[in-house]
Amino acid sequence: MANIGVLIEIEGGELKATNYGVLTAASEQGKNNVYAIVMEGTADAVKDELSAYGASKIVTAAGEGLKASPDLQASVLAAAIQEYALSGLIGLASARGRDVFARLAAAKNLPLASDCVAVNFAEKTVRKSHFSGKTTATIRLNEDVLLATIRPNAIEPVGAPVDAEVLNFRPEALGPGRVTIVETKTAGTDKMDLTEAGIIITGGRPIGSAENYKILEECAAALGSAAVGASRAAVDAGFAPHSMQVGQTGKTVSPKLYIACGLSGSVQHFAGMKTSKVIVAVNTDKDAPIFEKCDYGIIGDLFEVIPELTKVLKEK
C-alpha cells in the first residue's frame, strides 16, 4: 500500500471542511495509507474528523518558528516525505497551500501540479485546468513523490472511517526561512472565503453599490454555508473588494451551487466558476451569454428575484 500524505489546513482554530475532499483523493477508496499532517493545534482536536475520511495516521508537526515561516513549513513537509516514505503528498490549493507546496517543490526540485481536480497516484497523473477553464490537461509527473494541490471542493468527500494513530513528528533542525510572516491582519468578519463555500451567490455590476450587496448577504444567510462573490466589473466599480472577485483575475471556485446575479457570463468570469456543479443565472437581459452556459435561468431583475428567494428559503 502506498503512503500518501495530506497537508491539513486549520483556519482560525477550525478544521476547514474542504480538507475532507483532499483526504478522499489521497485515500483512493482505501487503496492508500493516508497520513494527515497537522501543523497547528493538537491531534486530539482533529483526530475524529480526519479519521472519518480515511486518515489512518495523524501526524502532528511542530517546530520553533514554524508558524511565521512558510519555507520552514515546506522543509517540515520534505522531512515528512522521507520519514514516512510518502509516495505522494497533496493539500488544498488555498493561498497558503499553493504557497507552501510551491516552496517545497522548488526547494527539493520535485515536479508539482497545482489546483488539480483529479489525481491518480499509481499512474502519477493529474487533471487540471489549462487556459483558465477552457481546457483540461492530463499531466504526468515523472518523479517518485507526486506533489499536487487540489482545487477546493473539486473532489466530493466520501466518508471512510478508519482507526487512527497519532504520530508526533519533530524533525531535525531545519534551514533558516528566507521570508518571515511578521503580521496577520484578519478581515474582522467571520465570512468564509469564497473558495471554501459550498454555495456562492455573486453580484455583478447591476448591483449598483456596495450597500446593495446586503441583498445577497441576506440570501446567503438563508441559503446556509454560502458566500457572496462579485464580478470584476463590480470590483472595478468599487462595489466590492477584490477578495470577493470570482474570475480569471480573481478567485477560482468550485461550489455545488453558483447563483449568478446580473452577470453577463463573460469568458473571464466563467474561468473562475466553470466547474461549479449547478449554475443558476438571474439577469434582465434575455440575450445575455450566461443563459447559454448555465443550468437554470430566470430572466428577471435581481432586486425582485433575490429577496423573493430569501423569503422562500426562510418559509420552508
Binding site: 510551491a102 516552496r103 497523473t125 481546457t135 491582519k185 480573481g250 469568458v267 473571464q268 443558476v280 422562500v312
Partner: protein
C-alpha cells in the same frame, strides 16, 4: 536599481482555444498578450525605478512572436529585454525557471525580480518559486501591497476571506505580483514608438546550456471543456419561478 521582470506571452483571455490533436492548440488563430498578472509586475518595476533610479529589463521565455509582448512591456517603461526563444506550446516550469535564471545572470545582477503570480494559460503557480530556489533568493508571491526600502521588501498577500499576511524578505528577492498591487499604465503613442527601438537580446535554450528534455512533467492530453448547454429557463411570476427554482435545487439537483 537593477530590476528584472519576467513576462509570459499567453493567449488572450477572451480567445477561444481550439484543441488540435491529442495535446496541442491552434496558436495561429488566437491573439496573444502579456499574462495579465505580469502587467502588475511590469508596473511595479517601472514605478520602483521611477522612484529610485535604475533600469528595468523584461525577460521572456517564449517563441519569436513574444517580442510583441516584450515591446508592450517596454512601452510601459522597461528599458531593455532578453528573450529566451523556445519552440513548443508548453514548457515545464522547472525548465522555464532555469532559462529565466540563466538569462538574468548572463545580463546582470538583480536587486529585485518581479513576476506575475501565475500564468493564465498553464496555471502552474510555481515559476517564481523555482526561480527563487535556483537563484538562492527569497520569494513572496501574490503580493498586493509592497514597500521596498532599507534593503528589504515588506509585502502583503491575501490568505482568504479578505484576511492578509504581511511578510518581510531581504533584498535581492523575487516578488510575484497580483491584481490590486497597482494600476498598470496604458502606454501612450510616443512610448509605443520608442519601445520599437529598445534592445532585445535573444538566446536559445542550448545557448544557455539548458535541455528541455530533462523536464519532469509531461503533458499527456489536452481536452476542450464544453460549455454546458440546454439551460432551462424557468417561467412564471417572480414567486412562481423562485418556488420552482428552490424545488429543483432541493429535490432534483439536491444542492440545497
Amino acid at each position: 536599481m537593477q530590476i528584472y521582470v519576467c513576462v509570459k506571452h499567453v493567449p488572450d483571455t477572451a480567445a477561444s482555444i481550439k484543441v488540435v490533436g491529442e495535446k496541442a492548440f491552434n496558436d495561429s488563430t488566437c491573439k496573444f498578450i502579456a499574462n495579465p498578472y505580469d502587467e502588475y509586475a511590469i508596473e511595479a518595476a517601472v514605478q520602483t525605478v521611477e522612484k529610485e533610479g535604475g533600469e528595468v529589463v523584461v525577460v521572456t521565455v517564449g517563441p519569436e512572436a513574444a517580442v510583441a509582448t516584450m515591446r508592450g512591456a517596454m512601452a510601459m517603461g522597461a528599458h531593455r529585454g532578453v528573450l529566451v526563444k523556445v519552440d513548443g506550446q508548453f514548457l515545464d516550469s522547472d525548465i522555464t525557471s532555469q532559462a529565466l535564471k540563466a538569462a538574468i545572470e548572463k545580463d546582470g545582477t538583480p536587486d529585485l525580480i518581479f513576476t506575475g503570480k501565475s500564468a493564465v494559460d498553464t496555471e502552474g503557480f510555481q515559476t517564481p518559486y523555482r526561480l527563487a530556489a535556483a537563484m538562492n533568493l527569497p520569494v513572496i508571491n501574490e503580493v498586493l501591497k509592497l514597500t521596498v526600502g532599507d534593503g528589504k521588501a515588506v509585502a502583503e498577500r491575501e490568505i482568504g476571506a479578505g484576511s492578509r499576511e504581511v511578510l518581510e524578505a531581504a533584498m535581492p528577492c523575487i516578488l510575484g505580483a497580483t491584481k490590486g498591487l497597482n494600476e498598470p499604465r496604458y502606454p501612450k503613442f510616443p512610448d509605443i514608438m520608442k519601445a520599437k527601438k529598445k534592445e532585445i537580446k535573444q538566446f536559445t535554450l542550448s545557448d544557455l546550456g539548458i535541455d528541455a528534455a530533462a523536464a519532469k512533467t509531461e503533458l499527456l492530453k489536452l481536452e476542450a471543456v464544453p460549455e454546458r448547454s440546454g439551460a432551462k429557463i424557468i417561467e412564471g411570476s417572480t414567486r412562481e419561478r423562485v418556488l420552482e427554482l428552490v424545488r429543483i435545487l432541493r429535490e432534483e439537483e439536491k444542492v440545497l
